[in-house]
Amino acid sequence: MSSSISTLPFDETALVTQAKAGDAVAFSDLVSHYERRVFRMAKQITQNEEDAEDVLQETFLKAYSHLDDFQGNSKFYTWLVRIAVNEALMKLRKRRSDKTVPLDEPIETGEDTVAREIAVWEDDPEQLYSRDELSEILNEAVQSLKPAYRTVFILRDIEELSIEETAQALNLSISAVKSRLLRARLQLREKLTRQFRRKGDDAFAYL
């Protein structure tokens, strides 16, 4: 994987086995391999750099303390994501009790799931932006989602957990995950369509 600092192929299972046997270097390798993704996820959920740093540290410290509990029934990263998402949601709840950040708005029924922006995209819209511009566009789009949708989207479509793993990590039913995910995906599709729609192709836009 490109985020690995080592030139050797990254062998998660072997590193986890070594770390469980007390190999500190193996654990540090796991940290350096996953720190970016954990930090990104923490920032996306908490929307706060300081909280995200706490989440990052807590996640790896907890993972280290509970390494013996990891039985290898899932991928190590999936296990790590579950720890991280719990930490991040705790931060978010704490902030909610400070201010009023709604975390779990009532979820509407499927009736309001609509697609409004109908427009074809440029062939390769990603190529029209620099990497930084693109990542800003994507981050802004994710941030615009309500937390209840955002978290599901992050776990399922960015961190690539399965529907079942996402449901487990968030303590939600499968059907709740699915309906939140559909709304998240459709809302993001609308946002990105505003950016990526093919210019001068208004025949396709029924706005």
């Binding site: 985020s3 500190a24 940290v31 790896f60 074809v120 599709r189 369509t193």
Partner: protein, 89 residues
């Protein structure tokens, strides 16, 4: 034939390729015959692709440094030693 609304309800499973074959061919037929749903399907698929292709940026150096020392401290405590030479950097 599937309605546009029914199509939209099935879109997730369709994109995740977890739809059963009978329904799948109905959805495919709808997408091929309904220009709007074709666009919705195509742009949602590409939305997911764009997000999957997003690489996580490096953790800022100071944040990473604090992480490394927190982890080292924890490891040293577990091993009953004082923090040893920096690991992994």
């Amino acid at each position: 034939m599937l309605t546009c609304k029914q199509f939209l309800q099935e879109l997730n499973d369709f994109l995740d390729e977890s739809t059963d074959p009978g329904l799948r061919s109905e959805i495919e037929r709808h997408v091929n015959e309904c220009p709007n749903c074709w666009v919705v399907c195509d742009t949602t698929r590409r939305t997911l692709k764009v997000f999957k292709g997003m690489e996580a940026q490096a953790v800022p150096a100071d944040v990473q440094q604090r992480l490394v020392s927190a982890v080292q401290k924890k490891i040293a405590a577990r091993q009953g030693k004082r923090p040893a030479a920096p690991i992994g950097q």
